[in-house]
């Protein structure tokens, strides 16, 4: 259904597809975009996928898509779907294979001119110390039974093992540990895939990036968060590795039977789901939570390796090279949250697939340090371009179950990107622009070429304009490490 119409504009940056559009829709579908982004969305099947999610049992108010939406499998990437407890459904495909894929932002006390002479060494140290690439194992050897602790305690396990501090946990979504994990619901095969991948980056679109704060859009908010122009910061983008992928694979497979049992008729088998109150739904939630905690632990150990790399390269050359955490957020997750729907507080399961939680000021879920300004939102752009730090808003709470965009969003397929971009030439181009690149695979680098993505500034303009988040600061890359 590329080229799909049937939607109408209901606000400057908001479009709606009514329930009358297709039989089986239980709620309208809404998406945020400007004219150019609408054109990109209608160029693939993402709107059709969004409409499909509106057929899920128990879905409330409307299904939503952020301006970085693009075609996924089952749910579109950039989709937000809330279902009501107790009998609304949970869908593993609504979370995705990389459970708790997310972003962590660390900040230094250093200015770009202090780090610039050492950037090449820093890129090499980061590449050497942070295992990356296809199926790569890490340096953390878990004792028997310790994987269960990783899944049940998340980043708290890592801090207990000396890979970080309490301050890191305070500045992590859910303090780095979602309640309700049950490692017994995670298969032997998932454990096998995850047992030696704690503290590894993986491949695909995952990266570590050393950035500078290039522009501050809101000085007061930036100061509160701990950012200033010219400052050097580091982003980590990765998730739950093979363990999370296997949890999703296992439950999408198991739920093929569940949809028959609960007599659901769905437009796509990747949308399989089960009631949250059912044994299948509860087991998946407990397994997904375990994988999410594994991802928090993974980013915590990677942060440790990054701090170690800064120390290796900068100790004795510059003072005060430590890194402190700004925030760590998930963008592939289903979470039980309370939101006001039609004037009534309701317990919902909010699926965010390629969308970021963006709780506004006053939310009790936020650490005290950010409670009065809203949650920091980390929006990585495409490689070699820019990224944004935003904060969540009351507008997001009112419109999108406290959610906003998660990145730039692809426009070109990986296949097409590889055909039209040469990895070695791209690397040269990035390096000519002053960006130090370390990549395990030139083919993988080509797939992530900036030309394959939308303009992140445009995406951020839409969420800012629609009141789903507020701009704080823009980051530009100094060094990129890719698997």
């Amino acid at each position: 259904m590329a080229g799909m119409r049937g939607f109408h504009k209901i606000d400057e940056f908001l479009y709606e597809i009514p329930v009358s559009f297709r039989e089986g829709m239980r709620v309208p579908a809404r998406f945020y975009a400007d004219d150019e982004l609408v054109a990109a969305m209608t160029g693939d099947r993402s709107l059709e996928q969004l409409v499909n999610t509106a057929t899920l049992p128990g879905v409330v108010r409307h299904v939503l898509a952020m301006p970085d939406m693009h075609q996924g499998y089952g749910f579109p990437i950039g989709g937000v779907v809330a279902t009501a407890l107790p009998d609304g459904v949970i869908s593993p495909g609504g979370v995705g294979y990389d459970i708790n894929c997310g972003v962590r932002l660390l900040a230094s006390h250093l200015r770009v001119e202090q780090v610039a002479p050492h950037l090449d060494d820093l890129a090499s140290a980061l590449f050497a110390n942070c295992p990356s690439g296809v199926g790569k194992g890490g340096q953390v050897k878990l004792k028997p039974g310790e994987l269960d602790e990783v899944m049940e305690k998340g980043a708290r396990w890592a801090v207990r093992r000396g890979y970080g501090t309490e301050a890191d946990l305070e500045r992590t979504e859910e303090n780095g540990c979602l309640p309700g994990a049950d490692a017994a619901q995670v298969s032997a095969r998932a454990r096998d895939r995850g047992k030696d991948q704690v503290g590894t980056l993986g491949a695909g679109n995952h990266f570590i990036e050393v950035d500078r704060v290039e522009h501050v859009a809101d000085e007061v908010l930036a100061r509160r968060i701990g950012l200033s122009p010219g400052q050097v910061v580091v982003q980590i983008h990765c998730g739950s590795r093979g363990l999370g992928h296997q949890v999703c694979t296992d439950y999408v497979n198991l739920f093929q039977k569940a949809v028959r049992k609960y007599h659901y008729e769905l437009p796509d088998r990747e949308l399989v789901c089960a009631p949250l109150s059912s044994p299948e739904g509860r087991d998946y939630l407990a397994a997904m939570t375990s994988a999410a905690n594994y991802a928090f632990a993974n980013r915590q150990v990677l942060a440790f390796h990054i701090r170690r790399s800064f120390e290796q390269v900068l100790a004795g050359k510059v003072k005060n090279f430590g890194l402190y955490q700004i925030y760590d957020i998930a963008h592939n997750m289903a979470k039980i949250e309370t939101h006001v729907v039609d004037g009534r507080r309701r317990e919902l399961c909010v699926h965010r697939k390629g969308a970021t939680r963006a709780f506004g000021p006053g939310s009790e879920a936020l650490p005290e340090v950010y409670r009065d300004i809203g949650q920091p939102v980390l929006v990585p752009g495409s490689m070699g371009t820019s990224s944004w730090v935003l904060v969540g808003t009351e507008g997001a709470m009112a419109q999108t179950f406290g959610s906003t965009c998660h990145g730039a969003g692809r426009t070109m397929s990986r296949h097409q990107a590889k055909r039209s971009v040469h990895g070695a030439a791209l690397r040269q181009e990035l390096e000519a622009g002053g960006i130090h690149v370390r990549a395990g695979s030139l083919g993988g680098l080509a797939e992530e070429a900036p030309a394959a993505y939308k303009d992140v500034d445009r995406v951020v303009d839409v969420v800012h304009g629609a009141g789903l988040a507020k701009r704080v600061a823009r980051l530009t890359p100094l060094a990129v490490i890719k698997g």
Binding site: H70, G74, G133, G135, R189, G204, N253, Q416
Partner: protein
């Protein structure tokens, strides 16, 4: 799934089709065994490893599923699992038994140094094994 008219003749084994975020293959085969073989070879082509020589590793695989589509996902997921955890790339496939809900296969391959691409998962997205003039066809979307 319904059985196709039994026809013979050359058909394209697999080809890549465009997908914005991930990778998708359209796979054909004269029967289930050939479809599953071609699906495995297609997935190997995505992982792009320099496999060669005489296969030195053999493994027997037995899988059950509720229908042919689920069996296809289980089959590819099984092979992707061995690729990720043991760096095993299977290139020869002998189906001892195969039906839409069960397969028993002997697979042969080799340990490889590195894969260029990692198949993180095999999805059910719009998956439907269809009967066509030349046999069976399906489009599989891979999370990479």
């Amino acid at each position: 799934m319904t059985h196709p008219p039994h026809t013979r003749g050359p058909i394209r084994r697999f080809e890549e089709v465009e997908h914005t975020a991930d990778r998708a293959l359209r796979i054909c085969g004269r029967d289930l065994a050939e479809l599953f073989t071609n699906a495995a070879l297609g997935m190997n082509s995505l992982m792009r490893s320099a496999a060669g020589g005489r296969p030195s590793v053999a493994k027997e695989i037995e899988l059950e599923a509720i229908d042919a589509e689920s069996l296809l996902v289980a089959w590819l997921s099984e092979l992707a699992f061995w690729a990720e955890t043991e760096s095993l790339l299977f290139t020869r496939f002998e189906f001892l038994r195969i039906s839409p809900t069960h397969l028993n296969a002997m697979v042969r391959g080799d340990r490889v140094g590195a894969f260029e691409k990692h198949v993180k998962a095999v999805t059910f997205h719009n998956l439907d094994i269809r009967s066509e003039a030349g046999g069976l066809a399906a489009t599989v979307v891979f999370d990479v």
